[in-house]
């Protein structure tokens, strides 16, 4: 696979390390953004031609609502991917575990602020657990999170069968409310994507993380600590997944341990579509807004066409294949 190859072959990448950097990255980001925007527009146009009433505030509400939790999770997954951590397959566990802790604390009558903070803390603890196994076991993150993913689900099934957020709680009221005409849960997602996008591109911390993802050997040679970066990224990404859990439980009044499974694919697809390559080191988080928006529009369009929702799985899967195919083709061409 790609990551080990680059790690084992520092020689060819070194000469072209310096020149392209920022320019190449932003132009690739722009191209990814334009491509997705164009495809999204196409989907919208086709749907609107068949059903003119597609262009309505109802559609906007449906899409923005669907985007919220998936978008936050995509930021979490994106951080893991861009830093060269390959993938976190245990994201659904971080999501639901955090949501469960949050509603349990709310149910126990603790102040909202405590319960809301407990979500990201739980997620961070889960991410750190993954990070510790990966760093100190020197194990591949995909395998580790595959194991903790199904092990974690089993642990949750032992812990609880279903969880409900107290209907009178402030968090629940937040989940049902709207700001500027759009669902409350939509806005934290937008803010998070924008802040992460800026932080990754413009802070020293962000650039280091991307450098580690692009070429771990070179980053190490420059004195960056790989274990510290890995732990920070998995912990931080876990905290963000925990935050997604807080948003999740504010809109899902009742959920089961398995409820996170449906997010796995759409989140990975959003990250890859946004041009955050699985080989690490490149991508722009702002594009996530477009890719998550596009993927969230598919099920709504499907409903307008009157097709059964199973077809949205077919389209999402097919699009992912198409996107990574095009991405692979482009990378291969530019490598020549």
């Amino acid at each position: 696979m790609t990551a080990p190859v680059t790690a084992a072959d520092p020689a060819p990448s070194r000469p072209r390390r310096r020149p392209p950097r920022a320019d190449a990255r932003s132009s690739a980001g722009l191209r990814d953004a334009l491509t997705i925007a164009a495809v999204w527009l196409l989907l919208g146009t086709v749907t609107a031609l068949v059903r003119p009433d597609f262009l309505s505030t109802q559609t906007l509400l449906a899409v923005t609502f669907t985007m919220a939790v998936a978008g936050v999770l995509a930021v979490s997954q994106g951080l893991v991917v861009i830093s060269g951590g390959l993938l976190d397959l245990s994201l659904p566990v971080a999501l639901i575990l955090s949501a469960w802790v949050t509603v349990s604390l709310l149910g126990a009558g603790l102040p909202t602020i405590v319960a809301v903070l407990a979500g990201p803390l739980t997620g961070a603890a889960w991410g750190l657990l993954n990070g510790l196994i990966i760093v100190y076991g020197k194990l591949n993150p995909i395998i580790v999170t595959l194991a903790t993913g199904f092990g974690g689900l089993a642990i949750m099934l032992v812990l609880f069968k279903s969880a409900q957020i107290p209907s009178g709680s402030e968090l629940r009221a937040f989940g049902l409310g709207r700001t500027l005409g759009l669902p409350n849960v939509f806005w934290p997602m937008v803010i998070l994507i924008v802040l992460t996008g800026l932080a990754v591109a413009y802070t020293r911390w962000g650039r280091r993380m991307v450098a580690v993802g692009g070429n771990a050997v070179a980053a190490k040679a420059r004195g960056l600590s790989l274990p510290r970066t890995r732990l920070a990224v998995f912990g931080g990404a876990g905290a963000i997944a925990g935050f997604a859990g807080v948003l999740f439980c504010s809109v899902n009044p009742s959920f089961t341990p398995n409820a996170g499974a449906g997010f796995q694919l759409i989140v990975i697809a959003a990250v890859i579509l946004a041009g955050i390559s699985l080989s690490g080191g490149k991508g722009n988080f702002l594009v996530l807004l477009l890719s998550v928006g596009f993927l969230s529009t598919i099920p709504v369009s499907i409903a307008f066409f009157g097709l059964p929702p199973a077809w949205s799985l077919v389209f999402q899967g097919g699009l992912l294949i198409l996107a990574v195919g095009i991405d692979g083709y482009r990378m291969r061409r530019s490598a020549r």
Partner: protein
């Protein structure tokens, strides 16, 4: 793996010892420990004919699917879509037979869909150079969506007698299908270990560039491996219909992870090609099957099974890493 290159010159005992030292050795030991725990805790009935039949029947199909999918792992192109392909193959076969088609014809068509799915995976991965994990994750979703789009009402019941006897029957007290699966495993092990093609596959997975330099057709090997993987899954789907006489739209969900967890316990890697042996796949599935069975016959909550399998999986890859295998950074 370096040991095998001069396998011809090393004395047999040395080779056996080297094998014991490797992943196959530690998984054999794990299996032995599992069986001892079973013998002590469950008692002699753990090894009763009916119990062997139960374990055998439940791991035979995953073994066939796993051994054929292991070629893709070996060639360094993981195929996550096998679980959905098992489901899609089963749904296709069941619906076709349910609609009155001749079972042989239906089976042929189903295997052809496997070829088609494998070819699409191969085109995008090998032809376009995309990440196998991402491509096959997309295929996993796509095929599951198709299963749900096809099976909307209750699926037809299609008891194909010869297929039922094959998948549920036994010779003496040994499940027929498991015998076939073990036979397939041994053939695959011989193929991988002894033939030039087998060595080529391992070389492609180990270091594609080096393999290309010595004249191995890397692309062709990977294409064939991906098609074999998908066809194996389609075959697994047909066999499940034989065993269950029907196919719901969730059949095979998560099977890819169960199979790969067992394969990784047996010494394969989903992130690195060139390592693993079909015998390891057999032993890995036996370990998981044996533990599942201990929990089953003791009537213990199956949730604990996944926790145990996760721990063993982490232990196995850690052991492999300490031994000098796949190290992340």
């Amino acid at each position: 793996m370096t040991v095998d290159i001069d396998a011809g010159r090393v004395p047999l005992t040395r080779r056996l010892l080297a094998n014991l030292n490797g992943p196959v050795g530690s998984i054999a030991l794990t299996l032995a420990v599992t069986l001892i725990i079973g013998a002590v805790w469950v008692g002699p009935r753990y090894f009763s004919a009916s119990n062997i039949e139960i374990v055998g029947t439940s791991i035979a199909i995953p073994l066939i699917v796993g051994v054929l999918a292991s070629f893709a792992l070996l060639a360094g192109v993981v195929d996550l879509s096998i679980g959905s392909m098992v489901g899609f193959g089963a749904v296709a076969f069941n619906q076709l037979v349910g609609a009155g088609m001749d079972p042989w014809q239906a089976a042929g068509l189903t295997l052809l869909t496997g070829v088609a799915v494998g070819a699409v995976n191969a085109y995008v991965i090998v032809g376009l150079g995309a990440e196998p994990l991402a491509v096959t994750l997309g295929m996993l979703t796509l095929l599951r969506g198709l299963c749900q789009a096809i099976v909307i009402e209750a699926p037809p019941t299609t008891l194909v007698e010869p297929l039922y006897d094959l998948t549920q029957g036994s010779i003496g007290s040994f499940p027929t299908l498991l015998l076939i699966a073990i036979g397939l495993t041994l053939v695959a092990a011989g193929f991988v270990g002894k033939t030039r093609m087998g060595r080529a596959i391992r070389a492609v997975g180990g270091d594609a560039r080096a393999a290309g330099r010595v004249g191995i057709p890397v692309a062709r090997v990977r294409v064939i491996a991906l098609i074999v993987s998908a066809v194996g899954a389609a075959l697994g789907g047909i066999l499940y219909v034989g065993q269950l006489a029907s196919a719901s739209n969730i059949l095979g969900t998560g099977l890819e992870f169960q199979i790969y967890a067992a394969l990784m316990i047996g010494g394969y890697s989903i992130t690195r090609g060139g390592v693993g042996n079909p015998i390891g796949a057999l032993l890995g599935l036996l370990v998981v099957g044996a533990i599942t069975n201990i929990l089953n016959v003791q009537f213990i909550d199956p949730d604990y099974l996944d926790i145990i399998v996760a721990l063993i999986l982490l232990g196995a890859v850690l052991l492999d890493r300490i031994r000098g295998g796949d190290s992340f950074e």
